[in-house]
Amino acid sequence: MSNDPSRPPTRREAMRGLGASLATAPLVLAATGAQAQPQMQQSAAEPRRETIRDPRNAFPKPPFASQQQPWPGLAGNMNPRPDHGESSYVGSGRLAGRKALITGGDSGMGRAAAIAYAREGADVAINYLPAEEPDAREVADLIRQAGRKAVTIPGDLRDEAFCRRLVEEAVRQLGGLDIVVSNAGRQQSRSSILDISTEDFDATMKTNIYAPFWIIKAALPHLQPGSAIIGTTSEQAYDPSPDLYDYAQTKAATMNYVKSLAKQLGPKGIRVNGVAPGPVWTPLQVSGGASEGKVVTFGATAPLGRPGQPAELAGIYVRLAEDDGSYTTGNIYGAGGGQGNP
C-alpha cells in the first residue's frame, strides 16, 4: 500500500501541504511566524499537529464576493472554493473494508465524508444530480487516488423508483453495504410562506424527507449488525430561520427520525445518528439557499465569525460510522460555530 502512488497523503505530507498554503497567506505567517519557527521540528512522538490552530482564522472569513449560481450549484465555481479536506484529511484505517453510500456526495458535507471515508479505507458510492457531474468526477478521482473503489450513481432522489435502484446499484457494485449517509438536501430561501408553491414545498419534502425514507427502507435488508445510518440534519432543526420555513422543518424531521429509528434498529445492532451543521460554505447557499445579501456575509454572526467548511465536519461523519463509536446511537453531533444547537 505504501508503494502505491495513489495512496492518501501521510500526516507529514499533509502538514507540508499546510505549510505551502500558509506561505500564500502572508498575514497569518507574519502574525505567527516568529514564535512558531522553533517548534516546527518533529518530535519523536510526532504529535497530530505541530502548532495549535486558532479556529477563528483557520478558514476564510466574510465578507465574500457576491456570487449566485443556478440551482443546484457547483462547489468548483464558488469563490473561495469550499474545503472538503482534499489536501488535509489523513486517514488511519478507521473504516477499513467498509462499504458506504453517500447521497449528495459530490459537494458539501457529503463530499467531505466521501473523501474521508475513502482515506479511512472504505469503498464509496456517491449519488448526486446529473447537473453536478463536474463536482462528482473530482470526488470519484479522489476516492480512487485513495486506493478505494468509487461508484457514481447520478439521479433525482424525488423519485421513489430511483431511490430503490440507487440502493440496489450501490449494493451490487460495492458488493454489499454497511454505511448509509443520507445527506442530500434541497434548500431555497423564501421570505414569505406565500411565495412557496405546492410544487416547491413538495420538492423539498421529497428530497429531504421521502428520499431518506425510501433509501433506508431499501437498504435495511442489506445492513448487517455493525452497520451505521447517518442523516444530515441542521441547526435549523432547533432554531429555524424565517426564510427557511420548508427546509427547516425537514431538518427537524431528520433529527426526529434518527431518534425513532435508533430505538427501532438498536436491537438489530444497527446504529442511527445525525450531524447538525451550522452555517457551512456549500453550493446550497449560493444557488438560492440564502439571499444575495446573506451570502456576502455568510457565517458572520456565528461566534467564530466565519462559516464552517465541509472539511471541519469530515471527522464527525467518520466517528459516527466507525466501530469505535459503537455506543453512539440516536444522537446528533453538531458543528455549529458557537450558535448553540444541538
Binding site: 449566485q68 449560481q69 440551482w71 423564501r190 408553491s197 410544487e199 456575509t297 454572526t301
Partner: protein, 151 residues
C-alpha cells in the same frame, strides 16, 4: 410551478430588507452611544442615525408612491444575532465588534442595493436603490477605516 435558484427580491421583500437594515443601524448606533466612549465610534454612530433617518424617509416615500405598505424599521433575522453579541460587550471589545459589524452589514446592504438598482421590478424602489448605492458605499468605506483605526 417549481421555482428554483437565486431570486431577485419582490418589491415588498426588498422594502422589508431595507427597513431591517435601517432598524439594525438605529439599534446598533443607539447601543454604541450608550456603551462606547471612543469619539470615532460615537461620531460614526451619530452619522448612522442621521443618514438612516433619511434612508427611512426615502424608503417610505418610494413604497407609498408604488402603492406598497411602507415597512417600519425593525431588527430581524441575522441582525438580531449581531445586536445580541454587540450588547454583551464593553470597552475596546465593543468598539471593535461595532466596527466589524458595520463593515459586514454595509457589505450586505450594498450587495442588495446594487442588485435591486440593476434588476428590481419596481421603478420607484429602483430609483431609491440607485440613489442609495453611493451613500452605502461611503458608509462601507468609513466603516472599513473605523475598523482599521480600532485594530
Amino acid at each position: 410551478m417549481l421555482n428554483e435558484g437565486p431570486k431577485t427580491p419582490k418589491p415588498q421583500e426588498f422594502a422589508e430588507s431595507v427597513a431591517q437594515s435601517d432598524g439594525y443601524e438605529f439599534a446598533a448606533a443607539q447601543t454604541a452611544l450608550a456603551q462606547s466612549r471612543n469619539p470615532q465610534v460615537r461620531a460614526f454612530a451619530e452619522r448612522m442615525i442621521a443618514d438612516h433617518e433619511q434612508t427611512e424617509r426615502a424608503l417610505r416615500d418610494a413604497a407609498t408612491a408604488s402603492g406598497l405598505k411602507p415597512p417600519l424599521a425593525h431588527v430581524g433575522g441575522d441582525q438580531a444575532s449581531y445586536l445580541a453579541s454587540l450588547q454583551s460587550l464593553r470597552g475596546d471589545e465593543f468598539d471593535r465588534e461595532y466596527g466589524r459589524q458595520q463593515m459586514l452589514a454595509h457589505t450586505s446592504a450594498l450587495t442588495q442595493m446594487r442588485s435591486y438598482a440593476q434588476k428590481g421590478a419596481d421603478s420607484n424602489l429602483r430609483r431609491m436603490a440607485t440613489l442609495g448605492v453611493p451613500i452605502v458605499e461611503h458608509h462601507l468605506e468609513t466603516a472599513r477605516q473605523l475598523l482599521q483605526s480600532l485594530m
